[in-house]
């Protein structure tokens, strides 16, 4: 009886060990990416398209045989822009074996940063999250990968400088949503205003930005040479409409990255001809990457959403995020071999040099020091039908941007 009991116990132990090992074995089968979004609250204007682009690109990679035999799996869930829910999703996906995370929500990403640093998994923060996360030494596992809001503001001003024969004496209005995101570029703008001798005035409107009439009456009276608009979703539409209503020339309006084809249609395609925006990825379908997705994913009926969205700006941003992350995975697998871990992926990301996507995005170089990827962006202009580039890919005033980033990162280190 005793012997039987002992055998039973050993059997149970083996069974338990096998069960415990199962997730780890499963984790080796596919490389899991936790691609979480706010599908239901604040970031709804971008979440669907961005997520679709991410998932379609991973499907494309899988359809093409994976990378070094490794297939990728997207874990997609809604965090509703709530940090608590984001942390819950993070923990769950960690248990499921995810090694790359992206939340496309600044409050959620900021809440996850300490955990990602501690757990040594990669947190992608393209176009959201902490601006100072570009400082790789302080944030070794956080990767903004694309031009931060600081770099975007700098790029827009450089465009004005290059096309208008300098910034000296110009009047620049920064019309922004009254949130940390809207105020984020102000330190860079203020420093550049001092350096370049232009006049800067900030105009804030309350969130969510559905009513801005009083602000724009004031902007009109200020008579700015250029207006930066810094909002997202429908507040951008309201900004452009109010600017036009107040007689501001659309070609003098310069937008943060969050202005898309859908916004222009909502404003009125012909109403906003001339509006400019900064962009970090080429929109549209006229690119081999997007053509491959259409050919191998949508023709096979494996698209993650409506085919009509393919090529939209936010869709392509989602694709670009995965292009960079999978490039990091490829380099990591080549150097270290499977199974891929957070530490290996981090090292792979930091090996990316001049990633050439044939113009889909600027060349990306990520180093242990620079997690922004170089900070290049370009300016494009709405012609009534599409966004047309009016500048080359370039990084601007990175000395000022890095000074701000390092100062902010130093505060983070001190607070730890």
């Amino acid at each position: 009886m005793k012997k039987t009991f002992k055998k039973g116990m050993i059997g149970a132990l083996f069974a338990t060990a096998a069960l415990a090992a199962a997730p780890a074995l499963q984790a080796q089968e596919t490389v899991k990416f936790g691609l979480f979004h706010d599908f239901t609250k604040v970031y709804t204007f971008v979440a669907d398209e961005f997520s679709q682009g991410q998932r379609d690109y991973l499907t494309l990679i899988n359809e093409e045989g994976g990378i070094k035999g490794q297939k990728f799996e997207a874990i997609v869930r809604d965090h509703g822009n709530e940090p608590q829910r984001g942390l819950e999703l993070y923990n769950r996906a960690r248990e499921e074996g995810a090694i790359y995370f992206m939340f496309l929500s600044t409050p959620v990403a900021n809440a996850v940063v300490p955990r990602a640093l501690q757990d040594k998994v990669v947190l992608g923060t393209p176009l959201h999250g902490r601006g100072d996360a570009m400082v790789g030494e302080t944030f070794p596992y956080v990767f903004p990968m694309m031009a931060s809001y600081w770099s975007q503001a700098a790029r827009l001003l450089k465009y004005v400088e290059d096309t208008q024969g300098g910034l000296k004496g110009k009047k620049i209005a920064h019309v922004h949503i009254d949130t940390p995101f809207g105020r984020e570029p102000l330190p860079i703008l203020e420093k550049l205003a001092q350096q370049k001798s232009f006049e800067l005035r900030a105009f804030a409107y309350p969130s969510p930005g559905n009513e801005q009439s009083a602000v724009w009456s004031d902007v009109r009276r200020y008579r700015p040479d250029y207006v930066l608009i810094w909002g997202a979703g429908n507040s951008q539409m309201v900004s452009v409409r109010e600017a036009v209503r107040n007689g501001i020339d659309p070609s003098k309006i310069l937008s943060v990255v969050w202005l898309t084809e859908t916004d222009m249609k909502n404003i009125g395609e012909s109403t906003a001809i001339g509006v400019k925006r900064v962009e970090v990825v080429q929109p549209g379908r006229d690119h081999p990457i997007i053509q491959r997705i259409l050919d191998k994913v949508y023709k096979a009926g494996k698209g993650a959403g409506p085919e009509a969205r393919v090529g939209n700006t936010y869709y392509n941003y989602g694709v670009a995020d995965m292009v960079i992350a999978t490039e990091g995975a490829k380099l990591a697998l080549e150097k270290f071999g499977p199974p891929l871990t957070g530490e290996k992926l981090k090292a792979g990301m930091e090996m990316i040099r001049d990633l050439d996507t044939k113009g889909f995005m600027p060349p990306v170089t990520i180093t242990p020091q620079d997690h922004q990827g170089g900070g290049q962006a370009r300016v494009s202009q709405w012609d009534g039908k599409a966004w047309v580039p009016v500048s080359d890919w370039a990084a601007a005033y990175q000395d000022v941007v890095w000074e701000e980033a390092r100062a902010s990162a130093a505060k983070f280190s001190q607070a730890k």
Binding site: K41, N210, A214, S217, T262, D263
Partner: protein
């Protein structure tokens, strides 16, 4: 002082305030008949905007037909809300009914964009962007149309409460038990008030949707609407009108001068202060009825 700037802030504040009144109207209509402050009115405005957009954009039907269908749809939605949600709450504390409307608000805010798409959508009423310029004061054409719409709807609501049905609704608001005793169907009356509030939401959703696009942020109009009903008096249609004007003007003029000094964000502060001061010093608002209870 730039008086033209002040005039422009004032005029645009008036029209913006009346646009808020359009949202607040539904809250007052329901309160007048059932004594329930409806916290789902913002989400009902959002739902209405989505309905009009869906008929125009997905079915390619004309705007007038879309509005008519939305009116019918939202009236039925109001009736259904009373029948399936509120009727079950008879005898429950009012606070639980308020929580129910809050739950409905949260549900609609998640469900409707999830079903019909969360990205902002265009709702074009054909109102041009060019402002009406009077003595160098720019008047927003779309807001002016919205303000006129608000006045028409408030006037219609005032007339409605003078009709036989409206009188019944007022009686129900005064005393449910006494209304039952004289043969008034309280459930039907409350259902109708929710239905009419749904109709008012179509007005607000259409006008605001054309100004800012249709998405979840339409539901955020609840906050200024709450300020309007608290200031004007939650059971007063005149209060909806005057409260809207005051909230709109103060929310335009004060931030117009303060924001450049403090760096922005004062409009929500103005609205909040209005709510707090009104509740502290005149809890029934400017035109609300002061109920005196014997203890």
């Amino acid at each position: 002082m730039d008086f033209l700037f002040l005039a422009e802030l004032f005029v645009n504040g008036l029209s913006t305030g009346l646009m808020y009144s359009l949202v607040a109207l539904g809250i007052t209509l329901i309160y007048k008949a059932s004594g329930v402050p409806n916290l789902a009115q913002g989400a009902m405005v959002m739902l209405s905007g989505y309905l009009v957009w869906a008929v125009v954009s997905l079915l390619s039907w004309p705007l007038w037909l879309a509005i008519a269908l939305a009116v019918v749809g939202m009236f039925l939605f109001g009736l259904a809300t009373e029948r399936w949600l509120l009727r079950r709450m008879v005898g429950q504390p009012v606070i639980m009914i308020v929580m129910l409307t809050l739950g409905l608000d949260i549900f609609l805010r998640g469900f409707v964009p999830g079903l019909l798409g969360a990205a902002p959508k265009r709702l074009d009423l054909g109102i041009g962007l060019a402002p009406i310029i009077v003595a160098d004061v720019f008047v927003n054409r779309a807001y002016l149309v919205g303000a006129i719409g608000a006045m028409v709807l408030i006037a219609a609501a005032m007339l409605f409460f003078r009709t036989r049905l409206g009188t019944k609704l007022r009686a129900v608001s005064d005393d449910h038990v006494a209304s039952w005793a004289v043969g008034i169907s309280v459930e039907r009356a409350i259902g109708i008030s929710w239905g009419i509030a749904g109709v008012a939401a179509v007005g607000a959703g259409t006008v605001w949707g054309s100004v800012q696009g249709v998405d979840w942020t339409l539901s955020a109009l609840l906050f200024p609407a709450i300020a309007v009903v608290i200031l004007g008096g939650i059971d007063s249609l005149l209060g909806v009108f005057v409260g809207g004007l005051v909230v709109g003007v103060l929310g335009s003029v004060i931030p117009g001068y303060l924001d450049p000094i403090v760096g922005g964000g004062t409009r929500d502060v103005v609205t909040s202060v209005l709510i707090v001061l009104t509740i502290l010093f005149r809890p029934y608002g400017m035109f609300g009825r002061e109920d005196i209870e014997r203890v």
